[in-house]
Symmetry: C2
Subunit: 201 residues, 2 copies
């Protein structure tokens, strides 16, 4: 099992936005859409052993589960439509409920602290993706890691406090977009699962 | 210098498509848009030492040059608009001309053989991205490589013939989308340029 948490600071809490303007009117929702693509999509199929969690403005949590996910296509616009549908669903239900908006996508009210507590209670170790961290390629990685990254904004001091103590790894020498980091994490874990022992350059 | 060639089999030759339907009406233009994002975009800025070349239906070549590129945003829709603008420009000029459609994006009539001949004449070595190839991480890579990949379709027999003799490398144990392969190639070259010597797992 591999999980990713993306902390979203500007994405909308409601679905009333146009799919024609994901970067603008939808508060950089394009960033989250690309993260979903990279978290789940292989060339032919979906990574079933993956979950992805968006924490939006520390109020709403979208949980995406590869083992149940359907209708996820690689393009941003259709992913934006899935997210918009989930945001709509959140407002049609009591605030304490967790709602399945579409297969593999559920939504609940809560913040980063709630999600982190869930993972800690489940014994799932958090790892921050951070350009100042240890190189991913040589990092010791625990089983079933939960990689936490921020959207196009940095973590706030409050978020840093919640995540305090988690080790930090860096995907490479250049500072990349979050979705690119997800691709690189998957590749590293794919190589390790395939028994790659280093070598070469 | 790093270059990428994406051989596109279904993308349109003309600009008369809607940006609302890049995967459908625009013949999977979303695939090419993601390749452009991954070829050029860092978290804060553009990779200037990169060129990207789309060969569309073996008739039209779009050349994107990071050293001059402007207005490239991470989202697919705005990249689709840049490509559409370039396709329009191709039809406003004599067929033998190379036209600059916008800063860093030019377009010319020609096919894969023409582009490959250009690179060979310039002494630029071609490398195919192929899941059956040698692992990228341990592959010997020449300076200034040109990585060639196909869109969502396989290379045709004619294309295979044109590319015959080029070594093949695989980015990892799972078969990925083309844009993901570009991200992984950049990361490998970034590590090598930073003096990474392997180690770790």
């Amino acid at each position: 099992m591999r999980s990713f948490v993306v902390v979203a600071h500007t994405a909308p809490l409601q679905g009333g936005f146009s799919l024609d303007d994901l970067p603008g009117g939808a508060g950089r929702l394009d960033v989250l859409c690309r993260c979903a693509t990279e978290a789940f999509l292989l060339s032919h199929g979906i990574r079933k052993d993956v979950t992805l969690h968006f924490v939006i403005r520390d109020q709403l949590i979208l949980d995406l589960d590869g083992s149940h996910l359907r209708h996820l296509n690689p393009d941003e616009r259709s992913t934006g439509a899935l997210v918009r549908n989930a945001l709509d669903a959140a407002h049609r239900q009591p605030r304490e409920a967790k709602v399945v908006a579409s297969p593999g996508i559920s939504v609940r009210w809560g913040g980063l602290r709630d999600l982190v507590e869930d993972f800690r209670a489940a014994g799932r170790p958090l790892i921050l993706l951070d350009e100042r961290g240890e190189p991913l390629r040589s990092a010791e990685l625990p089983p079933a890691p939960v990689f936490v990254l921020s959207d196009h904004k940095d973590f706030t001091p409050d978020e840093e406090k919640i995540l305090d103590g988690a080790p930090r790894v860096s995907v490479g020498p250049r500072v990349l977009h979050g979705h690119q980091c997800i691709t690189l994490v998957h590749n590293e874990l794919d190589w390790r699962e395939a028994g790659w022992k280093g070598g070469g350059n």
